[in-house]
């Protein structure tokens, strides 16, 4: 059974069909890249999955539940984490504290006042620091990190929430070549352990994480499959890659 199933979703804005009866299915543990030219409906699709936009018709199922018309925070609670394009971290907290604040667990005032940090949380933070390559930045104020480091920290913060599905919006926009490679490594490490959807423009980046690719065009799925096949699909070359 698929973890996420998008079934014939249609969304239109003032007559413009942003998504046109789009269907998509995602297995647990998969790393999926969604690509497509501007206006193909990538961001709208993310908005529909996270409950930000209500579709005109169609159904979104997550872990066997219909989540189509659920409010955003309930969907977050079910285990869908989304990383927006612009990094948002807590600038005046250290990297460690940023991860601690978002860690899975009791978020009540009482526990926050009197409870210490559990050894499981501490270990989860250590693992995340290692995964994101921020071990030696742990006591640094997050506001002082570089753009790339902030993006990795935010991916780490989302991982601390133990989401079942992680949606990542254009993670490498504005990154240097080194940072892009590092990001590809981080996401590739997650494959198999964590279900991840990456929306990205940068084709080199998508190639480097070597995953299944879904190409969107004018609100529909144009092609889907391993990067090598999709790359050679003449329709894809025509609308997107050929450029």
């Amino acid at each position: 059974m698929a973890l996420l199933e998008v079934d014939k979703i249609t969304v239109s804005f003032d007559g413009f069909r942003a998504l046109d009866s789009l269907s998509l299915s995602l297995e647990a543990g998969e790393l999926r890249c969604i690509v497509g030219p501007n206006g193909a409906g990538k961001t709208t699709l993310m908005d529909v999955i996270t409950g930000k936009t209500r579709p005109d018709s169609g159904v979104v199922r997550f872990a066997d539940r219909n989540i189509t018309n659920m409010p955003e925070h309930v969907i977050v609670g079910l285990g869908i984490g989304r990383k927006f394009q612009r990094p948002t971290v807590f600038p005046n907290h250290t990297v460690f504290e940023n991860l601690e604040l978002t860690a899975h667990g009791d978020k009540g005032v009482f526990r926050a006042l009197f409870g210490g940090i559990s050894s499981e949380t501490r270990m989860a933070i250590e693992r995340t620091l290692e995964l994101t390559g921020l071990l030696d930045q742990r006591f640094r104020r997050a506001g002082l990190l570089s753009h790339g480091q902030k993006q990795w920290l935010e991916i780490g913060m989302l991982l601390m929430q133990q989401p079942k599905l992680l949606l990542v919006d254009e993670p490498v926009a504005g990154m240097t070549q080194n940072e892009i490679e590092r990001t590809a490594e981080i996401l590739a490490t997650l494959a198999g352990r964590q279900t991840v959807v990456v929306v990205e423009h940068d084709m080199d980046f998508v190639r480097s994480i070597a995953s299944t690719v879904t190409v969107l065009h004018e609100g529909r799925v144009l092609a889907e499959g391993p990067m090598r096949e999709v790359q050679n699909d003449p329709r894809v070359i025509e609308v997107y890659l050929g450029a």
Binding site: T88, P91, N92, H93, K107, L113
Partner: protein
């Protein structure tokens, strides 16, 4: 990596914080009361009764400043009604002090003088219980707490924040002031409550009573500081500062930001009530002018001057600004408001972090000068601030 500048100044500031507040509490709580009571009046060490009362008052203001810093400096909620919570605590204590006058008032009645004057025959129901100190003390904390909780619940739940929240709080204190100005409200109208005789049987005119009140107030400041420091250094404190910086992200991380804000807001109001209850027996009067919007604005200025987000800074701010006020209103009565306005402008423009941070960067500058003079031979000191950019891997081609 050696200790960075930020960590170094952080450590200094952490110690400063407790050090400054503890010494102020010791001075106001032990040294000054003892010097007032034990030394003869001619002695150079003698502290006058006037100075003792001023210090007691300032310590009350310092409690309000710490409470304000908790919500403004840490949680980013600029309250313009902290004087209301202060006054509510003051009124609760004032009601007890009115009841202890007994039949010694001007009209020799068992009712407070203003009620006799208004020709009231019986005590209103809401004055019941205030004959007892314990009940009054409890109400001094509970009433501001409940008012803050109910108001905060609706305001935070409706996601009113920033300047809109500040405006609503200002309207709240203004409305309360108009309510308390009415004679029919039953708290002495514009004269308020005054002419107190004794507290718990001790005459308020007696210097020893005043010395004891000053000492207790210092204890109150120590307690307030301990509570606020406990909150701000816990994970809840880190959640509060995160709410101040990026509230939406905290919400997405699964926290109910309403509950956290409501918690800090209510604790802050209760502490203001404590300050008000300690203030009234020392100054001998409480009236609705305490609830003026400008009083609450002044509280914000104390905290801004001292340094938002540093508890010791807010204490220093309250003491400095009010000390200056005591002196300037006597020396140049018309110039005080200009001075206050100028102070606010200067601090906002040139010292956004307040005095404490300015002192911190001053010691930092001295550290840099020491580096320049090549005096740093035996110890690794803090690196220069410019090295921050370099550390991030944007190394200039060397």
């Amino acid at each position: 990596m050696s200790t960075t500048t930020a960590q170094w100044t952080g450590i200094v500031r952490k110690r400063w914080d407790a050090l400054v507040v503890v010494s102020i509490c010791l001075i106001a709580g032990i040294a000054v009361p003892l010097l007032n009571v034990l030394t003869p009046e001619r002695s150079v060490f003698h502290v006058s009764d006037f100075l003792l009362t001023v210090l007691g008052k300032l310590t009350c203001y310092a409690i309000v400043a710490v409470a304000m810093d908790l919500v403004w400096g840490y949680a980013g909620i600029l309250s313009l009604c902290h004087a209301l919570f202060f006054a509510l605590g003051g009124y609760a204590m004032g009601m007890y002090l009115m009841r202890t006058i007994g039949t010694e008032g001007m009209y020799r009645s068992s009712l407070p003088d203003f009620m006799v004057f208004l020709d009231w025959k019986a005590l209103p129901w809401y004055w019941e219980g205030f004959d007892h100190f314990g009940f009054a003390a409890m109400m001094a904390l509970a009433v501001p707490g409940i008012v803050a909780f109910v108001f905060g619940f609706f305001a935070f739940r409706s996601r009113i924040s920033g300047v809109y929240f500040s405006i609503v709080t200002q309207a709240l204190t203004y409305a309360a002031m108009l309510l308390f100005f009415r004679n029919a409200t039953g708290f002495g109208g514009n004269n308020g409550l005054t002419d107190f005789k004794r507290i718990l049987g001790y005459p308020l005119r007696e210097p020893s009573t005043r010395a004891a009140l000053c000492a207790i107030t210092a204890g109150g400041l120590a307690l307030t500081y301990a509570i606020c420091r406990g909150v701000t250094t816990s994970r809840a404190g880190r959640v509060l500062t995160a709410i101040r910086d990026v509230e939406a992200k905290v919400r997405f991380s699964g926290y109910s930001t309403v509950r956290y804000k409501l918690f800090a807001w209510t604790v802050s109001a209760v502490l203001c009530g404590l300050a008000g209850a300690l203030y009234v027996p020392q100054v001998g009067i409480i009236n609705p002018s305490e609830m003026q919007p400008s009083s609450s604005v002044e509280v914000a200025i104390w905290v801004a001057v001292g340094g938002r987000g540093t508890l010791a800074g807010s204490v220093l701010g309250a003491l400095l600004v009010n000390g200056a006020k005591s002196w300037l209103t006597a020396a140049f009565p018309t110039a005080w408001l200009y001075f206050l306005g100028a102070l606010f402008v200067v601090v906002t423009l040139f010292l956004p972090g307040g005095l404490l941070q300015a002192l911190g960067s001053l010691s930092h500058v001295r550290g840099l000068l020491a580096v320049g003079a090549g005096r740093l031979t035996h110890k690794k000191r803090a690196p220069a601030p410019t090295s921050v950019a370099v550390e991030e891997g944007q190394k200039p081609d060397a």
